[in-house]
């Protein structure tokens, strides 16, 4: 049960957005700008970064919901998501994404451990400033969203099927930006 009296029928972060709409509105707009706004990273790649960081943080709600959104975005290649997040297999990612994932992981652990060499490796694989910026901010933002959800013990459905329509909606409609 959540630590605060949110609507018990609404899962995850949505229940928190409804509880405090003054903060829910900018939190939704940020997610929309990050994951659906302009970026050299595809929407699928950005949802994958969100899933990867949430999984590293062991936030079940964010991992399951963004994995569902990422699978929807990848379409016929949906199994890439499970390969990367659950099986540590990045074979089907671009060289650029393979170099950005370790940066996201270091940001998750703590921003200070990202090195010049990590960034250079991403540049050598084709990343431009904006790829690096967006990777760092997505990873940082999910360190916020994951803590917000688990810090308040928001309702986390255990049935994977519950996340399928949620992921479809997130992928198709975005986050209310």
């Amino acid at each position: 049960m959540a630590h605060i009296p949110v609507d018990p029928a609404t899962p995850g972060i949505r229940s928190l957005f409804n509880y405090r709409p003054e903060t829910g509105a900018p939190l939704s707009r940020l997610a929309h700008a990050l994951l659906h706004g302009e970026s050299p990273l595809t929407k699928a790649e950005r949802e994958l970064l969100a899933t990867f960081v949430s999984h590293g943080n062991k936030c079940t709600f964010c991992t399951m919901s963004h994995a569902a959104a990422a699978r929807h975005q990848y379409g016929a290649d949906a199994s890439i998501v499970d390969d990367v997040v659950y099986h540590n297999n990045t074979d089907r990612l671009s060289a650029k994404m393979r170099a950005l994932l370790p940066i996201a992981e270091k940001v998750r652990q703590g921003g200070r451990i990202v090195t010049d060499a990590d960034v250079q490796a991403a540049r050598d694989a084709g990343a431009v400033d904006r790829d690096i910026h967006d990777t760092v901010l997505i990873a940082a933002a999910f360190c916020m969203y994951n803590r917000y959800v688990d810090g308040l013990a928001a309702l986390t459905p255990t049935d994977p099927e519950a996340y399928v329509p949620m992921g479809k909606r997130m992928a198709e409609q975005g986050y209310g930006g």
């Binding site: 003054e22 900018p26 700008a33 703590g110 200070r112 308040l152």
Partner: protein, 184 residues
């Protein structure tokens, strides 16, 4: 030197927020509301939460900025430093002490807040909204700290910069207001 080119050349979070406005607008709006909006936690108490999380994440820019700002609200800078070092003996109310302990636990571990911590905070007088806002401020600074350090944003030229920043944050708050010359 920063990992990416920051067009404004401004140090710390300020330069990053100026480099991408579609994401910085909601980040600023959220910060303005949660740190300066109407609240039963004082502005100073909310700045202490921002400071304890930033110190725990060893984010030099954010710690200096928010410690300088917190020190404008009734504590000396030495007291602020002592509070973030060990909140269990902090010269604050029982309620705020429990909220600071929750913030630190969440900074260290995504699942770090226990039901017992929430019960203790509530017993010390914390409301549901105060518990919510503490969790959200702590979470938000886990974003800020990683954004600032993950891109190795530049440090300001001197410690005096943080005092000027504290001047702004205590008067204008966190809105953009005429940047690039403004701060934060």
């Amino acid at each position: 030197m920063a990992h990416i080119t920051v067009p404004s050349g401004l140090p710390g979070i300020t330069g990053l927020l100026e480099s991408r406005l579609d994401t910085s607008a909601p980040i600023r709006d959220l910060t303005q509301f949660i740190l300066r909006g109407p609240n039963t936690l004082t502005e100073g108490e909310r700045e202490l939460i921002a400071t304890i999380v930033s110190a725990g994440n060893a984010c030099t820019f954010c710690t200096n900025a928010h410690a300088a700002t917190a020190a404008r609200y009734g504590w000396t800078r030495d007291e602020v430093d002592a509070i973030v070092w060990d909140p269990t003996t902090a010269p604050v109310s029982d309620k705020v002490r429990h909220l600071l302990i929750m913030a630190r636990a969440l900074q260290r571990n995504v699942q770090g807040i226990t039901a017992d911590m929430v019960v203790a905070a509530r017993k010390a007088g914390a409301t549901d909204v105060e518990i919510h806002d503490t969790v959200l401020i702590a979470s938000l600074f886990c974003l800020y700290n990683r954004y600032v350090d993950g891109l190795a944003s530049d440090y300001p030229p001197s410690m005096d910069y943080y005092e000027k920043l504290a001047d702004r944050l205590t008067t204008n708050g966190y809105e953009r207001k005429g940047l690039p010359n403004a701060s934060h």
